[in-house]
């Protein structure tokens, strides 16, 4: 019960945080000089520009624009995109986010599936050639940028061997190359975190006790050490999942996948205010919720830590 009230409190405190974040995103992008209609066909007459500005409340002071925006949110309306004017921001996000989320979840699975075993093996064989090769592999994964890996994979698997389609999104086969290009980097991060966590866990006193009791390697590694060893990974997985679920510009751009990662970058470049704020809000709320979940899970896995 105490835990439940505590979680309730945490959720309640998220509200002011979200307000602050939304206001920051709202003002940050607007302070930048230049407007969303700068690259329109010129010359637009002053009246047209004035009408456009009035239509989107751009002629009002910043705090008033923000109030309009908040009023919209309470009705689930994030406003119209200033770039794609026939679409509302909510529509674009609704269309793109399932795709980005699926891609992100699959990549998350790949990252965990590759990364945890790799880090685990490196940790329990610390200092051996297995450790060195696993570390080298994990580091290489971190050091190859996605915009090199993705074209390379296309070149090999789509053009040369013609196993997977070059681009687009549809069948499960379409998902393979994007998921690999996105997931490999994070698998490297996961492996490094698992290795560190496991090494720290294996040095704790309770492991020495477990060894003294004569427990088997298997039960020491899997039942006792792993539970603590994945804690660093757990705290990283909040931001990791938030990043993955909101899409990746590079992968979506290269494979022509209709997710929201492309919008995230393009809207900030185009100064599509409403779009930027909407996407930032999605990202921030997702991150806050995931971090809360991570904290709760954390206190279950490590009973020494109290939720606070």
């Amino acid at each position: 019960m105490e835990r439940l009230t505590h979680i309730g409190k945490r959720i309640f405190f998220l509200i002011p945080l979200v307000l602050v974040i939304s206001f920051l995103a709202f003002s940050l992008i607007r302070i930048a000089p230049g407007g969303p209609f700068d690259s329109e066909r010129k010359p637009a007459s002053p009246e047209i520009e004035r009408n456009l500005a009035a239509r989107y409340h751009l002629d009002k002071p910043l705090w008033k624009q923000y109030l309009y925006f908040l009023q919209g949110i309470t009705q689930g309306d994030l406003g119209a995109s200033l770039k794609y004017r026939n679409h509302t921001v909510t529509d674009i996000i609704k269309q793109g986010i399932p795709v980005s989320m699926l891609l992100g979840l699959l990549s998350f699975g790949l990252a965990l599936g590759l990364g945890i075993p790799l880090g685990f093996i490196a940790a329990i064989r610390k200092g051996s050639w297995l450790d060195y090769s696993a570390t080298l592999l994990a580091l290489s994964a971190i050091c190859v940028p996605g915009f090199i890996l993705a074209p390379l994979l296309i070149l090999l698997f789509s053009i040369h061997w013609q196993i997977f389609p070059v681009a687009l999104w549809g069948s499960p086969l379409h998902a393979v190359l994007p998921v690999v290009s996105l997931g490999v980097y994070f698998a490297g991060r996961v492996a490094r975190l698992t290795r560190e966590g496991m090494i720290t866990a294996l040095q704790s006193d309770f492991i020495i006790t477990a060894r003294a009791k004569g427990l088997s390697d298997f039960s020491i590694y899997f039942k006792h050490a792993l539970r603590l060893g994945i804690l660093p990974l757990l705290s990283y997985s909040g931001p990791l999942l938030a990043d993955l679920l909101t899409g990746s510009f590079i992968v979506e751009n290269i494979f022509q996948i209709p997710g929201i990662g492309v919008f995230m970058v393009n809207s900030s470049l185009n100064r599509d205010y409403t779009m930027v704020v909407g996407l930032t809000l999605v990202y921030s709320v997702l991150l806050l919720i995931l971090n809360l979940l991570v904290d709760i899970l954390y206190s279950y896995l490590d009973p020494r830590i109290k939720l606070q």
């Binding site: 945080l17 602050v20 974040i21 920051l24 995103a25 940050l28 992008i29 302070i31 930048a32 000089p33 230049g34 060195y132 570390t135 580091l139 290489s140 971190i142 050091c143 190859v144 940028p145 915009f147 090199i148 074209p151 070149l155 053009i159 931001p239 909101t246 510009f249 590079i250 995230m264 970058v265 900030s268 470049l269 100064r271 930027v276 996407l279 930032t280 990202y283 921030s284 991150l287 806050l288």
Partner: protein
């Protein structure tokens, strides 16, 4: 390892660092590369920005890494780009070190309400997608600078490149100091309870003296380790910005913009592999050795592992 009680902590750290051959090798590679990059302009007459009629020619004795789509020598451009990438990484990381240590140490040392306000600020910035933040920051600064300098006719030629570079430093530094601040604050929180801090206070040292003379030097080890991890992260971020076209401005180049340029030349008929392979190889080896170096530094400097 036989621990000699008469060795100073830094000597001990150096001993531990030397044991990590991979880190030592990486340090050697980076130093050699640095020397070569810095000295190259002195003994070569090749201008990395000079156009020629030899478009996209493969590697030869004259052009070791071939030429790009404007006929520019890729060997010179790659070295030139590596210089910019390393510069952005180093300056951005130093900036993040400066802000992060100052912010984290102040919050941790003062504690109480100041601490919670300062750290909530960090929490809020953490929640913004960093790519949106950095794009907004760079375009804002650039817009302001354009408004300011266009009246002075300063924003032309070299000064425009310099200003873009400056904004890259600021933008990348601004998104990289958050973790540093958190780490430093955590360290300071435990350090300020230590007897030696109390002793300094009893002896009459003021808060600034305690912070800068007694606490921050003790954070240095952890901060250096994280600094070494920040440099490759910033280089990677810069290469991403270059890929988006808001990194360094042409004809200047960074490793990222060279790779992006090479990748843009890919078509189904021909691939000018040299225009991608060489900058990529340099970028990946630099990032790898920086990471190995950071690993070695952590083993050497982080007191937790010093057993």
């Amino acid at each position: 390892m036989s621990t000699n009680p008469f060795l100073s902590p830094s000597r001990l750290a150096w001993r531990r660092f030397k044991k990590n051959r991979l880190a030592l090798l990486s340090a050697g590679y980076l130093l050699a590369l640095l020397f070569f990059i810095l000295l190259y302009p002195l003994f070569s007459r090749v201008n990395p920005n000079e156009l020629s009629d030899l478009l996209n020619s493969p590697p030869s004795l004259q052009h070791l890494f071939g030429t790009d789509d404007h006929g520019r020598d890729l060997f010179a451009r790659t070295l030139f780009g590596a210089r910019i990438s390393l510069l952005v990484g180093a300056v951005g990381a130093l900036l993040s070190l400066f802000i992060g240590v100052l912010w984290g140490a102040t919050a941790g040392y003062l504690g109480g309400r100041v601490d919670s306000v300062m750290m909530r600020f960090v929490d809020v910035l953490y929640c913004l997608p960093s790519i949106v933040f950095v794009i907004a920051l760079i375009t804002t600064l650039e817009g302001l600078a354009q408004g300011y300098f266009s009246s002075l006719k300063l924003l032309q030629g070299d000064s425009a490149h310099l200003i873009r570079l400056l904004f890259l430093f600021v933008g990348l530094g601004a998104i990289s100091w958050l973790t540093m601040a958190r780490i430093v604050r955590g360290q300071v929180l435990s350090l300020r309870q230590m007897p030696f801090v109390e002793a300094a206070r009893v002896l009459g040292a003021g808060p600034l003296r305690i912070l800068f003379r007694h606490i921050i030097p003790n954070v240095a080890g952890v901060a250096i380790v994280y600094l070494a991890l920040t440099i490759p992260a910033i280089i990677l971020n810069e290469s991403f910005l270059s890929y988006l076209g808001i990194g360094v401005q042409p004809p200047q180049a960074s490793l990222g913009s060279l790779i992006a340029g090479g990748a843009g030349q890919i078509n189904p008929l021909r691939i000018y592999w040299w225009s991608i392979l060489f900058p990529t190889a340099l970028l990946v080896t630099v990032l790898l050795s920086l990471n190995f170096l950071a690993d070695g530094l952590r083993d050497a400097l982080d007191p937790r592992d010093a057993k």
